[in-house]
């Protein structure tokens, strides 16, 4: 038995742009335990409900995270709409779901790039990010923003996508799909990638279930949970199956996310195919009164929005539980027994979003 020592990881670290601090207890290059400490990005935005009214809160909630910003806004708006019994017009729902799936594509491409960077495959990192720019250009075309769009509002959306834009989207996604197939080949069949990912950080199905993992992290371990199947937005009209894998290592997580990009493109095609016409938002009158618990599937997993209103324009309570927070226990489990050199990679495989976690 070797001597135990502690290596600090973060909060400022070259691999992660975001601050998280881990105390890694190591014994001969092997991790015995990882002790996290978070709070570097804590802003306390849930407390803002006392100062901003429920309409203004939409814009605050969108800034919980800049990567899955749209889905945060969507979750919050759907929660408030359910409290107020507002029925969003079909076109509004479809538009929201299209943007949500586009966010998923851009988030997964971002993650794939960061993963490639973590195991030192720099050209692959640049290829992924080059492709991500195409999605961002589409976002700019349809919403006007690259990261934070602010197109959600209580009752629907603020902007419409016309037929010409939908055609542009279709052609861009077709082009992207061929390029993605090349990248998929590199990720899944390249032996250097395989040797870094296969068998690293295995999380079994039982562990994933017991530790409450969410999203692609849980699905890669064989837990078939996908909040989209519960049916919000336009998902009840769409035909899809959650993508799972039984292996549960870093390679499986990569595989699941790549396939989810293809799935998202397919979902967008389905939606453009049966896009309903009509209004994009409903008229909202009065103030919310009551409470609601909304669950949405974000790129990283399940996010929960709890809203409690008292009939005034200020909400009583707004609570967010984000997927990274649910995935942290699972990540700490995979870190045990891993090599010190694999730590950045293992932290990345849960697709951490620290600013979501700490709000």
């Amino acid at each position: 038995m070797g001597k135990q020592s502690i290596i600090p990881f973060g909060p400022q670290h070259p691999v992660l742009p975001e601050p998280i601090h881990l105390d890694l207890v190591i014994e001969d290059e092997k991790i015995v335990e990882a002790i996290p400490s978070i709070g570097f990005v804590h802003r306390g935005l849930e407390g803002l409900v006392k100062k901003k009214d429920f309409n203004e809160m939409t814009y605050v909630v969108e800034r919980t995270c800049g990567i899955c910003s749209f889905m945060h806004g969507m979750g919050y708006c759907e929660a408030v709409e359910n409290v107020m019994n507002v029925e969003v017009p079909d076109r509004g729902k479809y538009l929201r779901t299209i943007w949500a799936e586009m966010s998923r594509i851009h988030s997964h491409l971002l993650w794939l790039g960061l993963l490639a960077d973590a195991f030192g495959f720099e050209s692959l990192f640049y290829q992924c990010w080059r492709m991500r720019e195409k999605v961002l250009d589409l976002f700019e075309l349809t919403t006007g923003g690259r990261c934070i769009f602010s197109v959600n509002k209580i009752g629907g959306v603020l902007k419409d996508i016309d037929a010409e834009m939908l055609q542009t989207m279709l052609s861009v996604f077709e082009e992207m799909e061929t390029e993605l197939k090349t990248i998929r080949k590199t990720f899944l069949f390249d032996y250097t990638v395989e040797s870094r990912l296969k068998g690293v950080g295995v999380l079994t199905k039982e562990q994933a279930h017991n530790l409450g993992a969410a999203g692609p992290f849980a699905r890669a371990s064989g837990v078939k949970i996908d909040m989209r199947t519960r049916g919000y937005g336009a998902y009840p009209d769409l035909d899809f199956e959650p993508i799972t894998s039984e292996i549960g290592d870093s390679f499986a997580r990569c595989d699941v996310r790549i396939n989810e990009i293809f799935q998202a493109i397919d979902l967008i095609r389905q939606m453009i195919g049966k896009m309903p016409s009509g209004e994009i938002s409903a008229v909202v009158k009065g103030n919310p009164n009551g409470e609601y618990f909304m669950r949405v599937e974000q790129p990283r997993g399940e996010a929960i929005y709890y809203v409690k209103a008292n009939g005034s324009k200020f909400l009583d309570r707004m609570r967010v539980r984000t997927p990274t927070f649910a995935n942290l226990p699972g990540m700490l489990e995979t870190l045990k027994g891993a090599d010190l050199a694999d730590v950045p990679l293992l932290i990345l495989t849960i697709d951490p979003c620290i600013s979501c976690t700490e709000r």
Partner: protein
């Protein structure tokens, strides 16, 4: 830009930002925007950095981290605050845990507005920082020369 004699290295730290500005900072490094053509490299080591690029406002927990990173950087140094949160606190200004913009803790030279700041704006800010960095290092050299002359 004009006469830039050195390639300044950049240190990026996420204060309490929402990631929006961070991914835009990273996007600047990719081939589409490519700040490396100005000789700027993103380094993870504060001791090798010349430009401190910080996103997001300051909160009670990261204040010490930001201060420490700033102190570890060698002189001359330039601080760029990216995004409206780093400039003033932005939408989170009223949050109980936010102290305000980056200038509440360390002196800021260049403010880049936007939520999230666009890559073009960030590049503009970085180019201004490169110029300022050059000016400061020239001044430092001048001072050194003068002090040497006095010693003689």
């Amino acid at each position: 830009m004009g006469n830039v004699k050195r390639s300044p290295w950049l240190l990026h730290y996420d204060g309490s930002s929402c990631n929006g500005c961070d991914i835009e900072v990273l996007a600047c490094l990719t081939p589409v925007y490519d700040v490396e053509r100005f000789g700027v490299i993103n380094t993870g080591d504060p001791m090798q950095a010349d430009i401190f690029l910080i996103t997001g406002g300051i909160n009670t927990q990261n204040q010490a981290v930001v201060k420490q990173l700033y102190d570890q950087m060698p002189k001359p140094k330039v601080v760029v605050a990216v995004g409206v949160c780093a400039c003033t606190g932005g939408v989170f200004k009223d949050c109980y845990n936010i102290l305000g913009g980056v200038d509440t803790t360390i002196p800021v030279d260049i403010y880049v507005p936007g939520c999230a700041a666009r890559p073009q704006a960030i590049i503009d800010g970085v180019v201004k920082a490169v110029e300022l960095f050059q000016k400061r290092s020239d001044e430092m050299e001048q001072k050194k020369k003068e002090s040497r002359k006095e010693q003689k």
